[in-house]
């Protein structure tokens, strides 16, 4: 599933004073539930294990029938080929540059507009709000061809700006930030204004610091979305030196290397494992951010 257009937040009832969170403390938990959940967990983790083990298998293991789950000997040849025969360090670098730039732009521009929409009074606010809202459910495929034509004529195909600029305008970041900005007390802003701070000062020195947790959520989700994105970069990066990791992997997996299972598993590990590490480290921010916003990486 591609990144999903999602309305502002999940319309779930809010936890309020006096409501106790429903939990199982009063119920006996059955061992069968643990057994079923563990079985499911094995199915969820299994493909990742298969990927990692596959990336460490020597070529001979892929010719053996029946195949084995564990490698006969552990080898790093598959990774070696990614680096020697193919230019995976370059693709990794491209993916990282694009994801960092997209994230930096998003966590600056989205809170700016969110702040203006929630806390400032200006002509045209309603129009902008309506425009951004109207694009929430538009399928990503719609803009693909016009953007390709536009980038061709601007000379931006196969360039970093061509791969970065269109990703700075996700409507979801604006929603998330606008929602947060409503919660910022006006007294706080007024106090800063009384002290002579102009609006940019108020935004930068008062609002942005207290927005850190929600910015972190937005940053992580934006980074993941960019790191994993495929269709747009696939169209816009036509020269191998501009490939991102998913573009490179898909190109090799459907082209001349489609039977090289070991190398393809190693390439998958390079895409997936950094993300898994980030996720396990920051999982609270990610899952809570998603649960409260309906936003998806």
């Amino acid at each position: 599933m591609t990144a999903i257009p999602a309305p502002t937040r999940v319309p779930a009832p809010r936890k309020g004073a006096g409501d106790h969170v429903a939990n199982s403390s009063r119920r006996r938990s059955s061992p069968w539930v643990y057994i079923a959940l563990t079985g499911g967990l094995v199915l969820m983790i299994g493909p990742f294990l298969w990927m990692v083990l596959g990336s460490l298998k020597p070529e001979a293991d892929f010719l053996r029938t029946p195949p084995t789950f564990l490698p006969s000997t552990i080898t790093t040849d598959n990774y070696g080929r990614l680096f020697d025969q193919l230019d995976f360090p370059r693709y990794f670098f491209n993916s990282a540059v694009i994801a960092f730039a997209v994230t930096a732009g998003t966590i600056l521009f989205c809170p700016m507009l969110g702040y203006a929409l929630a806390k400032l009074r200006w002509h045209g606010k309603g129009l902008i709000m309506g425009l951004v809202l109207a694009t929430l459910m538009v399928p990503a495929g719609i803009t693909l061809i016009p953007n390709f034509i536009l980038m061709s004529n601007l000379g931006l195909v196969n360039t970093y700006p061509g791969l970065i600029l269109p990703f700075l305008v996700g409507p979801f970041g604006v929603f998330l930030m606008r929602q947060f900005m409503y919660g910022v007390p006006n007294e706080l802003l007024e106090a800063a204004r009384m002290d002579g701070a102009n609006e940019f000062r108020v935004f930068w020195s008062v609002v942005m610091p207290i927005a850190t947790p929600v910015l972190a959520t937005l940053a992580i989700l934006t980074f993941l979305g960019s790191w994993n994105s495929f269709l747009y970069p696939f169209v816009m990066a036509q020269e191998p030196q501009m490939y991102t990791l998913p573009v490179a992997l898909a190109t090799f997996a459907t082209g001349q290397y489609q039977a090289d299972h070991g190398m393809l598993m190693a390439g998958s590990v390079l895409i997936v494992v950094p993300v898994l590490i980030v996720f396990v480290l920051f999982q609270r921010w990610i899952t809570e951010g998603i649960a409260t916003t309906g936003l998806k990486g």
């Binding site: 936890k15 990742f48 034509i149 997996a253 998958s268």
Partner: protein, 315 residues
Amino acid sequence: MTVPALARRTSAEAAPAASAGRRWRWRDDLTGWAFAAPFVILFLVFLAFPIVVSFILSFTSFGLRDLQNPVGATFVGLQNYVDLLSDPKFWASLLNTVYFVVVGVPITLALGLLIANALNRGITRFRTVFRVGYYLPVITSIVAIAVVWRFLLNPDVGLINMLLASLGIKGPAWLADPALAMPSIIAMAVWRNLGFAMIVFLAGLQAIPASLYEAASIDGAGRGQSFRYVTLPMLRPTILFMTVITTIGYLQLFEEPFVMTGGGPLDRTLSVTMYMYQQGFTFFHQGYASAVAYVLFVIVAIVAFLQFKFLRSDA
């Protein structure tokens, strides 16, 4: 919530608070637009403008020769849409996409809800481990996952047929069998996306007051009845929300068949977005591809509208 409904709600709550008590000054407009400008300019150029252009392109025979001079493209009226009606590949792609959505969405949501409910009320320990574990596939690259699953499903050297063989069953050629290719892709999509449904449902479940369950249990309700008469009604808005966004996401199926099957066998996994890609970037019929994209857009809009209406009124 439909988009217009959202718009009404948000503009109603957007009460100008910052400059209450002050007179409207031109400086307010300047400040507001200065904050909005970076996003709005990029938004207009790379999102709003392309959406309009795509609509116009769908009435032209735009092709490779027009790339250097886009405004010179020839208008063909409704010809692209007329051609679509009699294009068997387009209908195949539409049918496949509908199959993927109609089977995939209910399974994804049902499993997500089942697991969320088990995590919320069935167990007391290791919740974080399960939550993180089930969520892991959601954050990973679909391309990488599709490559891994293609290998898992490989008839000769794949894990799944290896496990089947150990039970004495000869596994089929999953992705090469016209009847099994789409179910295989659905299985992978469910595996990848149920964690997202789980997380959102879990948040919804945790917001249901425990007093409702206590009241139900005093009235003699068992676990199943509590779920039927407390959980489901309380979770209704969340289920609606998830149905809509999962359907819209699944309608845009692309990477999975692109990597795993290339749309085959016999076009049985060709999706609408994939057909648009082929027309636009393999054959360079970009006018025709824009018509395909707009049909998908309209379907997405109708589905979102109908689901909100339908799910809201059958209470």
